[in-house]
Homo-oligomer: 292 residues x 2
DNA sequence: TATACATATCACCAATACTGATGGTTATTA
DNA sequence: TAATAACCATCAGTATTGGTGATATGTATA
């Protein structure tokens, strides 16, 4: 049966077009390559190289198999980098809890980069209402969390402000509020408002309450759907509704009392007194600058 | 450096939860496995198994690396099946020339099945107007071809009837013809017709000519676009326009003289006096039943 | 406590992979 | 054309590796 070293000889020799060059590259003598490939050919019962010319070149059979042999070696490279990663103690998984409103466009590239830097570490994204993030961290069911700042009890977790997420007030184009040129607070009060709330009620739920009648939902996607169906108006993260506003599915309310977009502070949190591994430390650092 | 045999020991032992069982499966003695894995652990500078219990189980590090090791072995399996295929002389590539009108829904599954049966053989689909297929085969630039039957000169190729492709006459919903309840030939004559034609003019180009004014295009996709823009009416393969008819983008003309869909015969062709390999033979057989 | 079944270790043996020398072949250069 | 340099195949000898079988030890099960 063939072995990895023979596959290496096969691929290198094919790429370099020379057994001697391959030998130099792999740190062996020429005859070792010559024999190694001859043995591989015996094992596979196929001729891989055409030696009739000066430079050995792949036979048609060799060409067909080259990509497969290369694929095996690529997999061993993957294994090697994973071994490196595990060797320096990279975590097996990092669980990141966040509200889908906080899945900002800049997060994607960070996760991409993370995957390259920590091939042996998996990422689990846990989508939950912002208000429940802190609880997941407390219960050690998540390692890092992103949440809208909350003034309530914050024992057992370490949290740091990382920036603001701007919000627009939005409604359906057919909604009565859409017809007002400049909306003030009094205008808003009689119309039903949709507000985010998770399992746990916190003071955050209260922050944005303006209207008299409030309906709740536990995700911004749900709120968006409700607003689109004219059920009420809501504050929504700008990056979630930009597209819909452009497509005229939603109207951004021109608030007379809000000259720049209203925004919420965001905290990055993790369990207190818990050591972070390499991967978590890296990700923590990157997330610190998520909203810049 | 580790080798494939050690990876096999790693994966098998982990799956079986036993070095002895692994030894039996791999046809070695227990001590070989014990040493093999110990050496692997030395090479990787990591402990893969926890031997403190009765059944050896993977350490966290072992768990992280397991999938990678398995992936390497899976790649060797791929290599092995490719070696088998190349060993029995499977072709490196098969070039199938056809008109996009003949990319019928049943072709997809056949190609899928082909990929499984002949892993070392690549498929090249050459999309050209039906009338040019025969030429590609003659010039040996394709191995198999599908084309609408053509009564012209057919030297050097072997061709066989395999079935019919039904056509609908279609036009844009805003087209004058769309307003007629039952369209007869005389109604069609004054309206511009769009007909397929390739590089080579053949008698096929003439077959479907009905209207006085004819415009040409070299693909049904182009014709479809032209019909959608109201440039004329055309005969189109049913399977290409079903969707558009359903979406009211096209109207199927109710032809008084065509009570069942007009259809064209299709031939499967290949070069005469040329030996077919396994893969080509298999595909040839399957394509014979393509339109059943 | 006895049994059955694991794993680790060790000395020994067999298979293999590598080395270095040799000879033949093919381009390149004088 | 002759000399040179670079390449590959082959082979005998050696070093390395991997496998064997025996033994000691450990751990569940009855």
């Amino acid at each position: 049966m063939y072995n990895l070293e023979q596959l290496r000889m096969f691929v290198e020799s094919a790429e370099l077009g020379s057994f001697s060059a391959c030998a130099r590259k792999l740190g062996k003598v020429q005859s070792a390559i010559s024999q190694g490939i001859a043995n591989l050919e015996i094992d596979l019962n196929l001729q891989l190289f055409d030696r009739s010319t000066r430079k050995p070149s792949l036979t048609p059979e060799g060409k067909q198999l080259f990509a497969y042999a290369e694929a095996v070696l690529r997999q061993t490279e993957e294994l090697n980098t994973a071994v490196q990663a595990v060797g320096r103690g990279d975590e097996a998984i990092i669980r990141l809890a966040l509200d889908n409103a906080l899945f900002v466009p800049t997060l994607g590239p960070i996760l991409q980069e993370f995957g390259d830097a920590f091939p042996a570490t998996a990422i689990e994204i846990i989508y939950i209402p912002s208000t429940d993030v802190i609880n997941l961290i407390k219960k050690q069911r998540a390692d890092l969390g992103l949440m809208f700042s909350d003034l309530s009890f914050k024992q057992d977790v370490q949290l740091g402000f990382i920036g603001h997420v701007p919000f627009h007030a939005v409604c359906n184009p057919a909604h009565p509020l859409a017809k007002i040129d400049s909306v003030n607070v009094v205008d808003l009060i009689p119309h039903r408002q949709l507000v985010l709330r998770g399992e746990i009620a916190t003071d955050f739920d209260q922050v944005a309450k303006i209207s008299a009648e409030i309906w709740w939902a536990n995700s911004f996607h749900a709120i968006e759907e409700m607003v689109k169906q004219g059920i009420g108006w809501a504050y929504m993260p700008c990056h979630l509704v930009e597209e819909a506003i452009k497509n005229k599915e939603l109207i951004q309310l021109p608030l007379s009392f809000d000259h720049k977009p209203w925004s919420l502070s965001v905290d990055l949190i993790r369990a207190k007194n818990q050591r972070m591994g390499h991967a978590q430390g890296w990700l923590y650092g990157k997330l610190t600058h998520l909203l810049e």
